[in-house]
């Protein structure tokens, strides 16, 4: 771990971390633009970078992107990222009553505390979890991937069938190309372009950046007019006593919710906010500009990042689309996320952990010192930003293989993403299905080869059986919950 910090403090890695965090904060603060989109757009550039620098840049963007959302959530009641939705409940009323600086100060402090506490979980749990995961065989991996996909599909907003459909569609789009097991073309229909399959980067950029730009360009929303904070951001020593327990509890909630696939920072913030409200002696004050509301929401949404990074680096399982993109970043550097990462590339595994902590500290310094200017940057006209983003999308997709075929794939997936969103098919399971499909198939085929096609061998593998049972329970839970609800109302 110490080596990872030493490596991180080399000037180029630190510069990329500062750059990533800064970019993340600005993009995260702009409603409509998300950390996911920023990371997808930056990914092609990391192709030509040293893996440690690439990872530090992306982790900085992730942390900054989630944290930056609080600025517009508090000042405009427009959350920069979905994770900051709950911050608007009390942050905006505080700003309306002339306490914008106090709300921002508490939000920033809470974000950092949430980040640091979840880092402690990340640093202490990851190496031992990775050692434990080394005992997993193909059956365990296959069922784990299946469980993650089902959880993502079930927990995605909207209908269960559409969530599952999104995941299955994503998996289907990952099928064309050379089947590595037999070295033969599959589902290419004679096209030489499809021999290498659909590239991860064009698919990610298309599904997230292009579809979002096309959707945002349809919006008649006017450019933002913001009133930046004028006074210094006030925090007091007494805040430790007043908000300490809330921060600690919200950090634990955020971290554990982040661990579960499919539940993002917004749910973590909501659960934490509800818990704080239930435990409060003054629950009626929540929603009226009450400080613990801002603290619980911002602590939990940042803590969820640390939680989500745990299954990513220990088992190679993404909890959200952003983590799926991070897996893409590792794979383009020929690094396989999972338990072997700690053995094969410890500088990356521990580098991610170290970068997460330092990114939180950089975020604190940047947001504390520059919140006024960040609030001004947010006012850049939407048409200007979106036009530039489109050019970046085209050059980014082209730069991966110097091929326009990738750019056309990107546009096609942009349209597919737009169509899926219009049909209310969640994009998260779609993209994660695309990323996890090759792993799931490889592990299933390896499992069946090892057991001579005997599926019942799974019954003798407790962890595989556990994941499978969890998968089935996740699938049937919405039906059970609906029945219980009906019975209660009757």
């Amino acid at each position: 771990m110490i080596d990872a910090f030493i490596l991180l403090f080399q000037w180029q890695n630190l510069a990329f971390l500062v750059l990533g965090t800064g970019l993340g904060i600005v993009i995260g603060a702009i409603p409509g633009l998300t950390a996911t989109m920023l990371i997808a757009l930056t990914l092609p550039l990391t192709f030509h970078m040293d893996p440690v620098s690439a990872v530090t840049l992306l982790i900085g963007e992730y942390v900054g992107g989630i944290s930056g959302g609080l600025i517009t959530a508090i000042l405009l009641r427009m959350p920069g990222t979905p994770a900051s939705i709950v911050t608007t409940f009390d942050g905006y009323p505080m700003a309306q009553s002339g306490r914008a600086e106090r709300a921002l100060a508490l939000g920033i402090m809470a974000s950092v505390v949430g980040g640091v506490i979840s880092w402690m979980f990340l640093a202490s749990m990851s190496p031992s979890l990775a050692r434990f995961a080394l005992k997993f065989g193909p059956w365990e991996y296959f069922t784990l991937v299946l469980m993650a996909l089902v959880m993502l599909a079930v927990l995605a907003q909207g209908s269960l069938a559409k969530g599952l459909m999104g995941a299955a569609l994503g998996m289907a789009f990952a099928l064309p190309g050379i089947d590595s097991s037999i070295g033969q073309a599959r589902l290419t229909f004679g096209s030489s372009t499809l021999l290498s399959g659909f590239g991860l980067l064009p698919v990610l950029i298309g599904a997230f950046a292009i579809s979002q730009v096309l959707r945002d360009s349809n919006s008649a929303a006017t450019d933002l007019k913001i009133d930046p904070p004028k006074k210094r951001l006030p925090v007091y020593w007494s805040d430790i006593r007043t908000h300490g327990a809330n921060m600690l509890r919200s950090s634990v909630i955020g971290t554990w919710i982040g661990l579960l696939p499919g539940i993002g920072g917004n749910i973590a913030a909501l659960v934490s906010y509800s818990t704080t409200k239930q435990l409060s002696r003054e629950p009626e004050k929540f929603g009226t500009g009450y400080e613990p509301g801002v603290v619980s929401a911002e602590t939990a949404n940042n803590a969820s990042i640390g939680g989500a990074l745990i299954p990513l680096i220990t088992m190679g399982i993404p909890g959200s689309v952003t983590e799926a993109i991070l897996i893409g970043a590792l794979t383009i550097h020929n690094l396989q996320p999972g338990p072997l990462l700690f053995q094969n590339a410890p500088e990356i595994a521990y580098g991610i952990i170290a970068a997460y902590l330092v990114a939180n500290i950089i975020m604190l310094l940047m947001m504390w010192g520059a919140v006024k200017w960040i609030a001004r940057v947010v006012q850049i006209p939407r048409s200007t930003l979106l036009s530039i983003i489109l050019v970046f999308c085209v050059t980014g997709s082209y730069a991966v293989n110097s091929s326009f075929a990738d750019v056309w794939v990107m546009i096609a997936f942009g349209v597919i993403g737009l169509g899926l969103e219009a049909a209310r098919v969640p994009l998260g399971p779609f993209v994660i299905g695309f990323v996890l499909s090759p792993i799931a198939e490889e592990q299933l085929r390896a499992s069946l080869m090892m057991s001579d096609g005997d599926v019942t061998e799974i019954l003798g593998r407790p962890w595989a059986l556990f994941f499978l049972v969890l998968c089935v329970l996740t699938l049937i839970w919405p039906v059970i919950a609906a029945r219980i609800g009906k019975r209660n109302t009757a």
Partner: protein
């Protein structure tokens, strides 16, 4: 057309498209060789996914039809939208990439024109805006061209 029937039609169209895609999966899988060295083979996963997609499509279609006959849900509030803007931006994007790919138009020429077109599609059509977007596009093009050719040794267009 009321929002609810549009939603039902949208769901049915989605199901039709997904079923068509599943048929493509089955056709593609039928051309693959049977398993030789392993129990599963190359065609199994496309067939499994094709089957799952058809089942899910049928469920979504039934849900859409049943929901149509039941009490209609209130439609969620949506922000005001100008749909032609997105279409214009998409057309500009396709023309831009087509010009770079098939027309071999230089990147530094195509990019300012694209930024001008997409920028104007998303904002007001005034001379001042046009001048701004053209200048912005030229700046972005020159910067990206320099970065790509100097650091990544890549030339576009």
């Amino acid at each position: 057309m009321p929002e609810f029937s549009r939603r039902t039609l949208g769901d049915l169209a989605l199901c039709a498209l997904v079923i068509a895609g599943s048929i493509v999966l089955f056709i593609g899988a039928s051309t693959l060789p049977p398993p030789r060295f392993e129990p599963l083979g190359s065609a199994a996963v496309p067939r499994i996914l094709g089957g799952i997609l058809i089942v899910l499509s049928v469920i979504v279609a039934v849900q859409a039809v049943v929901a149509r006959n039941s009490e209609s849900e209130p439609s969620p509030e949506r922000p005001a939208a100008i749909p032609y803007r997105g279409t214009m931006v998409l057309i500009a994007l396709v023309v831009y990439v087509g010009a770079l790919d098939f027309g071999r138009v230089p990147f530094n020429v195509a990019t300012p024109l694209f930024v001008l077109a997409s920028g104007l599609a998303m904002s007001r059509l005034t001379f001042r805006h046009a001048l701004f977007f053209a200048a912005l596009g030229l700046g972005v093009a020159l910067l990206l061209d320099w970065i790509l050719s100097t650091f990544l040794f890549i030339r576009i267009g």
